[in-house]
């Protein structure tokens, strides 16, 4: 059958290897050839429309242009490029979010948190904003890091946990400061104070030393009551923590295994003070509506906000 086929229509390439080894010269399928021609035509058109060939130090930009509106409100047009495409898509996304953000801007916190549709928006937009801006310090879920960043999911607040306080904290930033008491107190005084503070929050302590500590706490020598209040419950106006609850930010009491370790941690913070607590000023980086969304997110969705 192969001989018959050969004699009928298909030619060989004309060359013979090893005496009698020949090769059929079958034509390419017509549909394949024309599809190939179409791809060639497509490529030619594409070269003219989009960035293509390099020329010297530059390149052919193509006739296609793309525009977007930058932050200053000016329209920028250039040859087609993927960065401008991204900016254009971001423009569109902003436009789609605009109705929600305008509502957020015009409504009060109470209204926003009682509106089902806006609460849904806060959950998703707030999560995105939080992840981009806040999570690097406060972690993905807002749980913070003992010794570095406050836990936003609990119900203890350094500067106040209602909507207005949270908004103020985000917009204007905060600076936490505790003096270095090693410069004014000796080791025995610090030990006494540590025992008193332990007694305030239910940690095992030496009662005699705690009594001494209580006196020192309210004295002019250590003057802890200036910032932490006469009852040790803190002052939200200056961000002094509540010493009577179970929540610790700077002294790593939760991780300490026994009472002795916990006392050591408390002694350490009194000794060295702390000035690392910096919350950046977000008012210069985020729009007011975005800060409002974040406020409601931190208060409602992260769950610790106070009324």
């Amino acid at each position: 059958m192969s001989e018959q086929l050969q004699s009928q229509s298909v030619q060989t390439t004309g060359h013979a290897w090893d005496g009698d080894l020949q090769e059929f010269n079958n034509p390419l399928p017509t549909w394949w050839v024309y599809t190939f021609y179409i791809t060639v035509a497509f490529a030619l058109v594409y070269w003219f429309l989009y960035p293509s060939w390099p020329i010297g130090k530059s390149f052919l930009g193509g006739f296609s242009t793309i525009s977007y509106v930058n932050k200053a409100g000016e329209t920028q047009t250039s040859h087609w490029n993927t960065r401008a495409l991204l900016m254009e898509k971001l423009n569109e996304a902003e436009k789609m979010q605009k109705p929600y953000f305008s509502k957020i801007a015009s409504m009060s916190f109470q209204q926003i948190s009682h509106d089902q549709e806006l609460s849904g928006f806060v959950q998703s937009a707030g999560r995105a904003l939080f992840t981009d801006n806040c999570a690097p310090c406060h972690q993905q879920g807002g749980q913070g890091l003992v010794g570095a960043y406050p836990n936003l999911t609990d119900d203890d607040w350094l500067y106040g946990g209602n909507y207005e306080s949270i908004q103020e904290t985000i917009t204007n930033g905060r600076r936490g400061y505790m003096p270095t008491f090693s410069e004014v107190l000796n080791a025995q005084q610090i030990d006494a104070l540590a025992n008193y503070v332990a007694s305030l929050s239910g940690i095992g302590h030496d009662v005699a030393k705690a009594g001494e500590g209580e006196q020192l706490f309210h004295s002019e020598t250590a003057a802890c009551y200036y910032c932490h209040g006469p009852d040790g419950k803190g002052k939200q106006t200056i961000g002094a923590p509540n010493l009577t609850d179970k929540i610790w930010l700077w002294a790593n009491v939760p991780a300490a295994e026994n009472d002795a370790a916990k006392l050591a941690a408390i002694r350490q913070i009194i000794y060295s003070g702390q000035s690392k607590g910096v919350m950046p000023v977000w008012g210069e980086r985020l729009a007011p509506e975005q800060i409002k969304v974040l406020t409601v997110y931190v208060h409602d969705v992260l769950g610790g906000g106070s009324k």
């Binding site: 059958m1 018959q4 086929l5 009928q8 229509s9 298909v10 079958n26 034509p27 399928p29 017509t30 948190s113 009682h114 089902q116 609460s119 849904g120 959950q123 972690q139 993905q140 879920g141 807002g142 749980q143 836990n151 999911t153 609990d154 119900d155 203890d156 509540n242 609850d245 179970k246 929540i247 939760p254 409602d300 969705v301 769950g303 610790g304």
Partner: protein, 477 residues
Amino acid sequence: MQQQLEEQLAPLQKRIPVFTRSVKGAFRRFKSTVLVVAYMIFFGLPWLPWVRTDAPSQAVLFDLPGRRFLIFNLTVYPQDVVWLALLLFISAVLLFFVTGLVGRAFCGYFCFQTLWTDFFIWIEAKIQGERPARIRLFRQPWDKEKSLKLGLTHFIWMCAAFWTGLTFVAYFTYAPQLVIDFFTGLAAAAAYLTVGILTVSTYAAAGLMREQVCTYICPYGRFQSVMYDPETLAVHYDAVRGEGTHGRTGARSGLRTIEERKAQGHGDCIDCSMCVQVCPAGIDIRDGLQYKCISCGLCIDACNSIMESMNFPGGLIRYDSESNLAKLQPQKPYLHWKRLKIIGYGVALLAMTAYLVYSVVTRSDFDRSISQIRQPLYVVLSNGDIRNRYQIRITNTADHDESYSVSTQDIPAFALDLGNFSEVSIKPGHSATVMASVRLPPENAAKIREFHFRITPKSRPDEARSEQVRFDFNLTQ
């Protein structure tokens, strides 16, 4: 015959036109019945009305912009894509099951390529006449008669293809409105594009290419050999009976009865070539089972009608199995279903269908998903209480607005805090998320490891559902 075969195998061979003769018989009747029923369903279903409150009143509507499929009483949401997957898998297994039993019965009777080609050939025969008239018309030079008949045929083909395309699009939008909009230029661009593509492709596939789709394009014909067994029923020409010892020959004088033919060593086949004339794939089944045969059974009807007129017994071409034909004394053909493969596929089919039906029937009116917030897994509050938070997502899959309330039973009432939304109202097809927080004193937290949330739709409290969740905290504290 062999030369014809080689002509067909030559590379870049132009299509050899197939002019089918019409035939009457049981298989032709079955084929036509399937065609009529299938067409009634396909062309009729978009026009069936259905009472709906929140959607167009069409019984079967694939509402793509609304992200839902409305099929009579059932609304299918994207979350139910498992049903579609199951349906496709059931169809595939059904195909394998049927092919194992009766070969390419799908190709011959049910495939839409066969249905439309059959219909187009019927149109052609009605306008241009029977096979001899059509061959004559094909061969004659272009004159008034040929232009008129061919033009009319192709015009009607175009209309049929157009209506097919329009019906397809009618499944995706309200049909009466679509027809009006289409002809007044108001339909969506996608509608015009789809109808255009489907018209051209239907016309080309059913009118111009016909059997070439089955021969060259469709992969099913090529892997049929994998699915056949020696016991599979396929269209076979009984060569032993038909050829005899000296081959087949015409029914000339002296060869008109079976006894006369047997005496001279000839078989029952009188070489009338009716089986070749009626074949829509253009093959000769007497060459044996071949890849182009779509198992439509028309050659069986043709041969049987000739055998009847000759007073010979029918069944010279019949549905039979290879193993039966190979026997010295072939038995009456029957359906060999007692094979492991068939029974296996059958059981799988039953199980999957039963599961699909069960899943559809027991689908509740709302979907829920409760996930524990894992960052952080638990929070120690200022008085030492432990708090876990949960994200409760409720999707309303009913066809009316509904309010849902969230509650728990295994924990004290004061422990659950649902914020401002102890009750959420959700529109059909939408979802809402409720943030729930549960706070327990450390002693209780140690005892309660798991508890249940209960979600109750307000209008149908008996359809409330519970989901179990964990309560976590660090035991070493």
